[in-house]
Symmetry: C2
Subunit: 341 residues, 2 copies
C-alpha cells in the first residue's frame, strides 16, 4: 500500500510499504477513508523523540471501513464504518475497566493512520461503529474524535472541571481548543484560553472561551491573576507538553487546583514545592479515547459539539508532507488528509 513514512527529522514522504496484515486473531484491517496529522506527530518530525533509525510509517488518527477481520473478532465485519481510537485496547483488562484504556495491557497504537490501510489490534475493544461513511461535512468531526477531541476532553475531566469552574487552558493547538470545548460542555463558568493567534482565538471563543489572554509567561500569569481577582484557576488544562507550558499551567493554578496534562511531556521539570505547599495536583496522561468515544460521538451527532472546526487545511494523502510543514510552521492548526484514488 501507499503510506506516509518518516525518514528523519523534517523528512516526511508518501511511499510504498507492505500492506498491514492480520497478525493476531483479534486484529482488523481498516481501509482508511479519512486521516489527519497530530500535534504529537510533530515531536517526531522535529526530531524531539529521539533518532529515527530507519523509515517507518507514521500517523495515528483515522476513520475507515473494515476490510478484513481476524477469526476472533466478533463485533465487527468487513464493510463496517468505524472510528479508530489512536490507542487501541481490549476494553476489558483491569486498566480498561477503571477507564485507562490508553494503558490497556493488550494495547497498541495505530501505526499507519496516514496511509491506505491501518491495522487495528483488539478490534472488538478498540473500534466504534458509525452509521455509514461520514459525509465531507461530518468527516472532520469524526476524525477529531479519534484523538484531539477525546484528548481535550480528558484534560478537562482530569483537571476536575465541573459546573461553575474557572478553567485556564494552556495551548491553542487543536487539543487546547478541544479542551475549551470540553470545559464548556462540562459546565465551566469561565474559560480562559491562552492564545496569541487570532484564528485560534476565534475558534476558542466559538468553543466557549469567555476570555482570551494573548500574553505569554509571567505576563500571562499576571493577566490571568487580574481576571480572576487574584484567585487564579480552579482547573488548568495543559495541552502542550513543554517545560514553559507546564510552568505556566502551575503558575495560573489556584491552591487546591488540578492541572490536567495531556501534552506529552518533553523536558518538563515539575514545581514540586509549589505543588506541595499549595496542594496543586497533577492528573491525566495519554487519553483513554475509547472510554469517551461513545459519549463524544453522541454529542457530535446531536450537534452539541463540532470538534471538526479545528481543521483548517485539507490535503490529499499524497501531499501529506505539505501538511506537516504547514503545521510545523504554525500556518495550519490541524490538517485533514483525504484518500487518493
Amino acid at each position: 500500500m501507499r503510506a506516509t513514512t518518516i525518514h528523519g527529522p523534517g523528512d516526511i514522504r508518501f511511499t510504498e510499504v507492505p500492506d498491514p496484515v492480520i497478525a493476531a486473531p483479534t486484529d482488523a484491517i481498516v481501509k482508511v477513508t479519512g486521516s489527519c496529522i497530530c500535534g504529537s506527530d510533530l515531536w517526531h518530525f522535529r526530531g524531539e523523540n529521539g533518532p529515527i533509525d530507519e523509515p517507518r510509517t507514521i500517523g495515528h488518527e483515522c476513520v475507515g471501513i473494515v476490510e478484513e477481520v481476524g477469526p476472533q473478532v466478533r463485533r465487527f465485519k468487513a464493510g463496517d464504518h468505524v472510528l479508530v481510537p489512536f490507542c487501541q485496547c481490549d476494553n476489558t483488562c483491569p486498566n480498561c475497566q477503571v477507564g485507562v484504556q490508553s494503558a490497556c495491557v493488550n494495547g497498541a497504537m495505530t501505526a499507519s493512520g496516514q496511509a491506505e490501510y491501518a491495522r487495528v489490534a483488539q478490534a472488538d475493544g478498540s473500534l466504534v461503529r458509525t452509521e455509514g461513511v461520514p459525509d465531507a461535512a461530518t468527516m472532520p468531526a469524526m476524525l477529531a474524535l479519534t484523538d484531539v477531541m477525546a484528548t481535550g476532553w480528558h484534560a478537562a475531566v482530569s483537571a476536575g472541571v465541573r459546573p461553575g469552574s474557572t478553567v485556564a487552558v494552556v495551548g491553542d493547538g487543536a487539543v487546547g481548543l478541544c479542551g475549551v470545548l470540553a470545559a464548556s460542555v462540562l459546565g465551566a463558568e469561565r474559560i480562559i484560553a491562552l492564545s496569541r493567534h487570532a484564528d485560534r482565538q476565534r475558534i476558542a471563543r466559538a468553543y466557549g472561551a469567555t476570555d482570551v489572554i494573548a500574553e505569554r509567561g509571567e505576563d500571562a500569569v499576571a493577566a490571568l491573576k487580574e481576571l480572576t481577582g487574584g484567585v487564579k484557576a480552579d482547573a488548568v488544562l495543559e495541552c502542550v507538553g513543554t517545560d514553559q507550558a507546564m510552568r505556566t499551567a502551575f503558575d495560573v493554578a489556584r491552591a487546591g487546583a488540578t492541572v490536567g496534562m495531556v501534552g506529552a511531556p518533553h523536558g518538563v521539570e515539575l514545581p514540586l514545592r509549589t505543588m506541595f505547599s499549595k496542594n496543586i495536583g497533577l492528573a491525566g496522561g495519554v487519553a483513554p479515547v475509547r472510554r469517551y468515544l461513545p459519549e463524544l460521538l453522541d454529542l457530535t451527532l446531536e450537534g452539541r459539539i463540532d470538534p471538526g472546526r479545528v481543521f483548517d487545511v485539507t490535503l490529499p494523502l499524497d501531499r501529506v508532507a505539505e501538511g506537516y510543514a504547514a503545521m510545523d510552521e504554525r500556518r495550519a492548526i490541524k490538517v485533514a488528509l483525504t484518500p487518493i484514488s
Copy 2:
C-alpha cells in the same frame, strides 16, 4: 516562657525565650497543656531544611487553654480548651473555602508548640473547641488530631480512597499509620502497609492494614504486585517525602491511580513519563487540618478511631531533646510532651 529551641543540626534545647504576645487583633495566646514532636521536625533536626542561622523555637503540634485573645476574636475566650491545627487559617478566604486551609492567604504555622505558650493567628478560624481539658487517656488522640491524623486523612482523601479500594501506604511513621487508619475508615477493602518494624506493623494491623510488606524498594514492589494479582494499588499514600519513598509510591500505583502525597518532598524527582503513560496522578500537600478537624474530633469522641496509639513515648517538656533523639534514631514512633510545673 520556657520553650523548645533549635540551635543547629542535632541541637535541641529547652530555654527561656520571650513570651508570645497578641500581635494582631485576631490572635490568641494558648497555654499549652500537651504537645508533641513531628516527623517533619526531624528535617530541621537533621539539617535537611537548610542552615539554622540563629536559635528559634520549634514545634507545631499542641492543644491547650486559651490564655488571652485579641480584640477581634469573637468565638473564643480565656479558659476555652482548644485544639491548635498546625497550619492556622482564617477559614474564610478563597483557599479556605475550597478546603485548602493550609494555603490560607492569612495563614501562619504554629511556631512554639513545644513550649509553655503558643501564639495562634486567626484564632476564630483556626481553633476548635473541646469539652474541658482532655484527660491523660484522651490527650494523645487530641494531639494526633492537630497534625498527624489529619495529615494521614489528607493523604487518603487526596489519593481518592473509596469503599472497595486497594490502598498502599508508603511510610510507617505516625502519619503513615494514621493513613492506614484513614483508609480503613474511608472503606478501603485492602490496605497494604509497607513497614519493616514489628512495633509499627502491629499498629498498622490494629488500624486496619490487611497486609504488611516488610521488603523495601524493588522487592517491595514485587511483593505488592504479587499480592494484587499484578494489578497494583488503586490509591497510594506517600507519607515520607524522600525520593526513594516517592519512587516506591509510583511503582506500586496501578494505571489510573493517584498518589496522595503528604510527606514534605526532599530531593524528589517525579517519574513524569510513567505518570503520563499510565495516567497516574499526584495530589495532596500540606494538610488542611482545620478542614478535617470537626469530623475527626467526632470520630475520635465516638470511639471510632484512636489516633493516639501512634504515641509510644511520653516525656516532660524539659526532656524534649531526648524525645528528638529517640525519634531520630527510630527508637520512638512519636513522642508526646507533658507540661512541666
